[in-house]
Symmetry: C2
Subunit: 140 residues, 2 copies
DNA sequence: TGACAAATGCGACTAATTCGCATTAACAAG
DNA sequence: CTTGTTAATGCGAATTAGTCGCATTTGTCA
């Protein structure tokens, strides 16, 4: 899922390009987040990152996610009734659906939804900064 | 904005129809929520309701919102970084947009977004239980 | 009217996230 | 390299939205 080129060095470069200081903690956190296929919470990230670098603290994971979100490198998924989850900003845009039975988070491929929102928002004289969509659904 | 018929008695009936006990607290809370044009948080509701009935507690406002949401009478709007807000379940469906400058919550009329989501979800073998969309946007 | 389940107020509690502060370390300039 | 500046870190305390336990009250329905 992750290209062989996306190793630690690339993430370091990615941080630098965004004008962020490259600390070992940030590099570890980003590495873990990039290697993960699901959408981890801060707690998930914290635990996995500790296996790689036991100097990171939860506070730093929170701060790093916040910083990366502002830099547009990471997307935060706000859940209805559970801690937020994160993903690397996807190249292929998509939305998310929560399976109410299992709690699974399913990706909805395609950009239709975002496009429609953009269109509709511009009709009201706005342009979208970000959108937070939670679709709760059940298998048919 | 609120029809003259929607007085306290109607709300009492609405609760009864939903199979819920009609307590004075619930009647007061629903009255306040119905008379409000904006989208109040629990804190807002609590304060306004106290002016009408000083026996209500915050806990009851939380519990009432939860009960009414499950009954499909109220819609909860989950915010990114602020307490949840509520509205009476609208007869004319719409989504919401938060002006990131002012914090204002703007209603987006129309059902296009919900329809698209339903279509897209069914392609994945799901049917939507509920969806909350909050678009964060900036005036052009 | 009485019985019983459900709802309430209160305050204690939980869980997610943020913050203050002293310390450390990244980076740019020399 | 060294160094000065400034941002980032760890820690634990603080904050905040929301929930819970429990004793008491109160709708509802027979």
């Amino acid at each position: 899922m992750v290209s062989a080129l996306n190793n630690g060095l690339d993430y370091r470069q990615m941080l630098r390009d965004a004008g962020l200081r490259v600390t070992p903690q940030r590099a570890s956190i980003v590495t873990i987040l990039s290697e993960t296929d699901d959408h981890p919470s801060v707690e998930d990230l914290y635990e996995k990152t500790r296996t790689l670098d036991d100097t990171v603290s939860v506070a730093t994971v929170y701060r790093t996610m916040s910083v990366l979100e502002n830099a547009g490198l990471v997307r935060k998924l706000v859940m209805d009734d559970a801690p937020a989850r994160y993903e690397m900003m996807p190249q292929t845009d998509h939305d998310h659906l929560v399976d109410v039975e299992s709690g699974d988070l399913v990706e909805i491929p395609g950009t239709e939804i975002a496009e429609l929102m953009g269109r509709v928002a511009s009709e009201l004289g706005y342009h979208i900064v970000s959108h937070h969509t939670v679709i709760r659904a059940r298998k048919v």
